[in-house]
């Protein structure tokens, strides 16, 4: 979400501190989604500082059969940076989707999006990432 390990650490610690504060007041977070909702806003706030990704409309290519092989040549850090450069809510949608921890209902709730919007953002992100892969990873 931040594309920066230090920012991510700070967001994580702030989120945990907030949860601990709620717990100390006798009102602990009532579900696990609270952490991700909280962390998401903190990530977006943190992303507004420092270098910003250029806001450009990326080309889209249908996902190719060789996509998985191209991904096999990629470093996890590169993927993280690519996702963190996506505009929100697409960035949050991709981050949550590929964490593979949430149902589509939970993602819709977290991102306050309809299923159609969520599906559209993920699908668009997938095609844009394929374009990026085609440009950077030669197969």
């Amino acid at each position: 979400m931040t594309g920066d390990e230090q920012k991510a650490q700070a967001v994580f610690q702030d989120t945990i501190r907030e949860a601990a504060s709620h717990s100390a007041e006798g009102e602990p977070p009532n579900d696990r989604l609270w952490f991700f909702r909280e962390a998401r806003w903190r990530c977006l706030a943190a992303g507004e500082h420092g270098m910003q990704a250029e806001d450009i409309e990326m080309e889209e290519t249908e996902v190719a059969p060789e996509g998985p092989s191209q991904l096999g040549q990629l470093e996890a850090q590169q993927l993280a940076i690519w996702i963190s450069g996506a505009p929100d809510p697409q960035r949050s949608a991709l981050a949550l989707f590929y964490l593979d921890e949430f149902s589509h209902r939970e993602m819709s709730s977290l991102l306050e999006l309809s299923v159609a919007e969520l599906g559209g953002l993920i699908s668009k992100g997938r095609r844009q990432f394929q374009t990026w892969l085609d440009a950077h990873i030669h197969f």
Binding site: E5, I16, S23, P68, A76
Partner: protein
Amino acid sequence: MRLLNVWRRQRALAQCAPFSEKPSQDRAMRMAAFRARKSKQSAEAFAHQQAFDRAVGELVQAIPVPKEAAEWFVNEKLVAAVKKRAWKKTARNPVIVAIGLAVAVILAISVHNFLEHLKEFPGSTSARKLLTVASATRMSQLEPVRTDAGDLSDLFFMKHHLEHYDVPLEFSRLHTIGYRVFDDEEGHPVAQIEVSEKRMHFFLFPAEKKKAPNDPDLKGWRYIDQEGWVGVVQQHQGVCFMAALRGRKKDLASYLSSD
């Protein structure tokens, strides 16, 4: 229009279909994934999408989680324990309310039937019919006779050959104003007497035949009521006697307790 909406929703679901085989997917998602996998138009693209997503997912899993962060999730319990559904919320669920009402109605009917069954005794069916007869009887239908009710036993025996058609002692001193003998629906002879006191009616009719030899006889006085009429029945030597009047149980009880 509706079909189009369903198709759009399924397509949207397929676009965010999970790429790992987790059993907790809901039905709509399973259906959307199934259709995408089976449809000729989308099967290939969906297979590529799933393979692509799996590869991205593997990369995400490879992102190292700092040790301190991992320890937090192992050691700390910051999320409140999931509360059990409050019983008040459960009780307000329309389905639960409907089931509760249905059970209550069934219970009420069962209790009512049970209580009604407690009132039943051998001859109660005939007695109930005779209460209806009492309410519909006109004086003109009766043969006038002025004597004590207890004295009519001889008349019933001598004139109508009805043995043991005796008025019990509790009611034998009351003065009659009329009587008649008729056959009921089953052809059994019924003697009816009307007395001046409270326009009371007496009925004498054959007791029900026992269904089993060991069935007990009707013992003591049993009350019965119907449509504003109340009766009290006793069985003696195979004949039932019923005193009936328009009123309440206590109107008849006074005759029984005075004895």
